[in-house]
């Protein structure tokens, strides 16, 4: 039976500023203890599958959080590496019988890392080092980074740019990077967008489009396609002004204060708009929007407003599946497969709706992709910060994608879409296969 091991004595020799500053109280010890380390998450975790190492598994990361929370381990560069090596795909949450909210645990851990660094090391030396070591020596990564940064800047994301570890390098290096970036969207076109779109037929719902920041710059057409599909299905569409970035990238990077500010702006903007639903087409944003209430634990008033907001958030796939079937006039005559967005499947539990929508397009042969709900390695900015791991995961993914012999690999999130485009190139499938957002594909068949 159980024995009790006293671990107090294996505290490392570390001077803990974290306790003094109350950082460690941010850890939710009840949830950490709810992980009974059974290991059911291990086979679901892409980084564990790649490495076979416990410290790259959800169980291992939670154990390390526990070690830090109990002051047996320091908050140091190694802990930072451990916490930021996670994709944040949350496949482990689906696998976890104990219902451990891993996504919020890892966000807290990253927040602790970032806050600790701000307090102890105002120059942010080691985040910078990480970025410098992982990014600057690699031209291809720089180009990718540049694209993301350009988008970030163009979409008014300066606060993110200024605050996240990745973007801290921005002011000095921006000019250099911009040279490596292609022109990807026209801000003028965005400005000329109508703010309202009429429903076809009887109005079913009033929908406020959550356009996203990077999404709206790089995938402006996808947002337009989404609006078109929803209006065909009977929705009156509003492009709500004053909305901001969802804050997911901030939260995932440990920049909680920034994330909370953005959440407040969005809640206010959509309260004014007074719509039935708040619809988005990016799994990553959607999961964050649906979890705003978790960001306001200490603020009852905002918590209530967040809950009202959250109750209206829908992924476009979800809402389209509830509305009367779309009429398609152009058969696609193609074989297609679907790569789940992690934050749509694991974060929001939306799995069947996109598949049903795809099957409803005439002339489509739908083939299920093996391990479709396993992360492609994109994971926000992970493919920039952990390039090698990301590419290993992508190459494994592309083996399965290749086996489907599909003409289209369909996704539901901009990050996944970019990653799949890169995957097609890496797998030598250029010209044979196209990566496409589900809303664009549905719209093409109208």
């Amino acid at each position: 039976m159980s024995a009790e091991m006293k671990l107090e004595d294996f505290k490392p020799a570390c001077e803990s500023n974290a306790t003094k500053n109350g950082l460690l109280s941010k850890f939710n010890m009840d949830e950490i203890l709810n992980c009974m380390h059974c290991g059911f998450c291990l086979p679901a975790c892409p980084t564990y599958r790649q490495t076979g190492l416990e410290s790259y598994s959800p169980r291992g990361r939670i154990a390390l959080m526990k070690g830090v929370a109990k002051e047996q381990l320091p908050i140091d560069a190694e802990f930072e590496k451990n916490m930021f090596a996670c994709l944040g795909c949350r496949a482990c949450e689906t696998a976890c019988p104990a219902g451990v909210p891993y996504g919020s645990l890892i966000e807290t851990a990253r927040e602790v890392v970032v806050e600790n660094e701000k307090q102890t090391n105002p120059k942010h030396v080691f985040v910078k080092n990480l970025v410098f070591k992982q990014l600057f020596p690699h031209p291809k990564r720089m180009k990718l980074l540049g694209t993301a940064l350009w988008a970030a800047q163009a979409s008014g994301l300066q606060s993110l740019a200024a605050k996240t570890g990745l973007m801290r390098i921005l002011p000095r290096e921006m000019a250099e990077m911009q040279q490596a970036v292609d022109q990807i969207a026209s801000p003028r076109e965005r400005k000329s967008r109508q703010t309202r779109m009429n429903p076809e037929g009887n109005k079913a719902y009033t929908v406020g489009m959550f356009t996203g920041c990077i999404m709206d710059v790089m995938f402006y057409e996808t947002n337009q396609a989404t609006a078109k599909l929803l209006s065909k299905a009977g929705c009156e569409i509003y492009f709500v002004e004053e909305q901001a970035c969802c804050g997911a990238l901030h939260a995932h990077s440990g920049e909680m204060p920034g994330a909370v500010e953005l959440a407040k702006r969005n809640i206010e903007a959509f309260e004014k708009a007074n719509v039935d639903y708040i619809v988005n087409n990016a799994g990553g944003c959607g999961a964050a929007l649906k979890e705003y209430h978790h960001w306001f634990h200490d603020d009852p008033e905002w918590m209530e407003r967040a809950l009202r907001f959250v109750s209206k958030v829908r992924d476009a796939n979800e809402l389209l599946a509830e509305l009367p079937p779309l009429t398609f006039n152009k058969p696609l005559n193609a074989r297609i497969t679907y790569q789940d967005s992690c934050h749509l499947a694991h974060g929001q539990g939306v799995r069947n709706q996109p598949r049903s929508l795809l099957r409803s397009i005439p002339g489509v042969e739908f083939v299920e992709l093996k391990n479709a709900d396993s992360c492609c390695g994109s994971a926000g900015i992970y493919n920039l910060t952990n390039f090698d791991m990301s590419m290993d995961i992508l190459d494994d993914k592309m083996e399965h994608v290749k086996n489907t012999k599909a003409h289209y690999i369909v996704t539901s999130n901009p990050g996944c879409l970019l990653q799949m485009k890169q995957g097609i190139h890496r797998a030598g499938l250029d010209g044979q296969m196209e990566a496409v957002h589900i809303m664009d594909l549905l719209s093409r068949a109208l």
Binding site: M1, S2, A3, E4, M5, K6, L7, D9, F10, P12, D30, L33, N34, C35, M36, H37, C38, G39, F40, L42, P43, G52, L53, E54, S55, G60, A63, L64, G67, Q72, L73, P74, E78, F79, N82, C96, P97, A98, G99
Partner: protein, 485 residues
């Protein structure tokens, strides 16, 4: 009751692995596969056993038998403990480095070398994940029956070391019934073989059986030859719900008495049903006090006949509702949900402590009642589920490791459950092993003489006591372990 104290601080003082030694280990496996940073060590300081934790001095991840031999030889010369480990899903603290030393992670031995369809055997590395083995042999119409709850995570090597059971134990037996041969390495670095592909082999002591279930205390296994059987033609799943616990237990006894041996007969009480339903969304009738989950496999006509008969018996014995799963998928979903029962129970309280006291199946109703009585007596929260068909129950206590007083009551309750199981002709552990968690109860089952003999066997294999010390029986040769009775 016992308390293990101050282990890590003493390990630290002794610094088991000197820089020179570290270099020698690295020259065997390469830098990438030698881990000793604080966080890496911390990540191998636990397994799936609650409360137990202890830091190793290094984690080494070898890939070849030769590497294992060189590591063991070096460790043996320098008296460094070796703790072999697969995926770390152990429930008896068998893979926790309670004396520090080296965690020898065997998960790179993950190759299936051969599936021999003439001899019906598979030869594999010990790091193959059990469910991956299932997939590979079932693809050619063969079957490896042992299916511990952790089969999607655990390795066959780990299953072998603990002699893992599972849900098909009733009809098909457990891991030991399928291990035919082993390659293993002694602490001296000698590479040995025992058993093989022969169905009949009485040449000498049966070393294979001795090593199976030895919990890494004798040698490191580097290759396993397994027995396979033909894959059953079909299977069907049935659930029966009861308004009390005893009727379910009686149904189990009656089915066996009717000369039907189902592949699986699982028991879940109300508390377990609730959490499993919460996780797997099965729409179970949660007003019921217990349920049986029964599966039969074999030729179509036999399966249909047996399932009909089982349904009839269940109703006779007082089942409120009996339902046959419509599809194979539905059956598989029910069984998968049952496998998650232990972890799902940890939704209720921070700490989940599970035991696997086992009785002859004819005493099932009695042990179920005893567990209920004992939980009441010590005012602890115990849910019970388990392999009703083979008398292997999993009374699971939901508690909080931060509450010392409650943990003490939990320990008392489990001690009394062990006593009850032994009184009914049972054992202290059916399938999880002794490890560090139950070593102080072992004498109750095997006697002091039994323990002495086991120690002499261990000494023959491992005279320096480097192989997983502090497991199975309290070790007298290592003083760093402070044991308080």
């Amino acid at each position: 009751m016992y308390i293990l104290e101050n282990i890590q601080s003493e390990v630290k003082k002794e610094t088991l692995i000197t820089p020179e030694l570290k270099q020698q280990f690295i020259s065997i496996v390469g830098e990438k596969w030698y881990l000793d940073s604080p966080n890496e060590l911390y990540a191998y300081s636990y397994d799936a056993t609650p409360i137990f934790q202890s830091m190793p001095d290094a984690v080494i991840i070898p890939q070849t038998t030769q590497e294992v031999a060189e590591i063991l030889k070096l460790a043996n010369e320098h008296l460094i403990p070796i703790v072999p480990r697969g995926s770390g899903t152990n429930l008896a603290a068998s893979t926790i480095p309670v004396h520090g030393g080296i965690v020898l992670n065997m998960n790179r031995f993950n190759q299936i070398y051969e599936i021999d369809q003439q001899n019906l055997t598979a030869t594999i590395g010990p790091g193959v994940v059990t469910a991956d083995l299932h997939g590979a042999v079932e693809a050619v119409g063969l079957f490896y029956p042992p299916d511990p709850g952790s089969m999607r995570i655990s390795t066959v090597g780990g299953n072998m070391a603990q002699c893992a059971g599972g849900m098909r134990g009733l009809k098909y037996g457990v891991t030991k019934d399928y291990i035919m041969g082993l390659e293993y390495v002694l602490p001296t670095g000698e590479i040995m073989r025992c058993g093989g592909k022969n169905v009949k082999d009485v040449a000498g002591y049966d070393m294979t059986r001795l090593l199976v279930g030895s919990e890494g205390t004798l040698a490191v296994v580097t290759e396993i030859t397994l027995k396979l059987v033909p894959l059953p033609e079909t299977k069907r799943t049935l659930v029966a719900y009861y308004a009390n616990l005893v009727d379910a237990a009686k149904t189990v006894e009656k089915i066996i008495a009717n000369k039907i041996v189902p592949a699986t007969m699982e028991f879940l009480d109300q508390g377990t049903m609730k959490v499993v339903d919460d996780f797997a969304k099965l729409n179970l009738p949660l007003d019921m006090k217990s349920m049986l989950l029964i599966e039969q496999d074999g030729p179509e006509d036999v399966v249909v006949r047996d399932i009909e008969k089982i349904a009839e018996i269940a109703k006779q014995e007082g089942a409120v509702e009996v339902k046959v799963a419509d599809t194979l998928e539905e059956g598989a979903k029910l069984l998968a949900a049952r496998r998650a029962a232990l972890s799902a129970l940890s939704r209720l309280r921070p700490t989940t402590i599970l035991e696997d006291a086992t009785v002859p199946r004819s005493r099932l109703a009695e042990i179920v009642q005893e567990v209920e009585r004992i939980a009441e007596k010590y005012q602890v929260d115990i849910c019970t589920f388990g392999h009703a068909g083979d008398g292997n129950l999993h009374p699971t206590c939901m508690t909080d490791e931060r509450n010392q007083e409650e943990i003490h009551r939990v320990e008392q309750a489990f001690a009394e459950i062990f006593e009850a199981a032994l009184r009914l002709g049972g054992t202290i552990t059916g399938e999880h092993g002794v490890g560090a968690a139950k070593m102080n109860y072992l004498h109750l089952k095997v006697g002091e003489g039994g323990i002495e003999l086991m120690k002499r066997i261990k000494e023959a294999f491992d005279p320096n006591n480097i192989m997983n010390p502090g497991k199975m029986f309290p070790s007298s040769t290592r003083r760093r372990l402070v044991v308080k009775k």
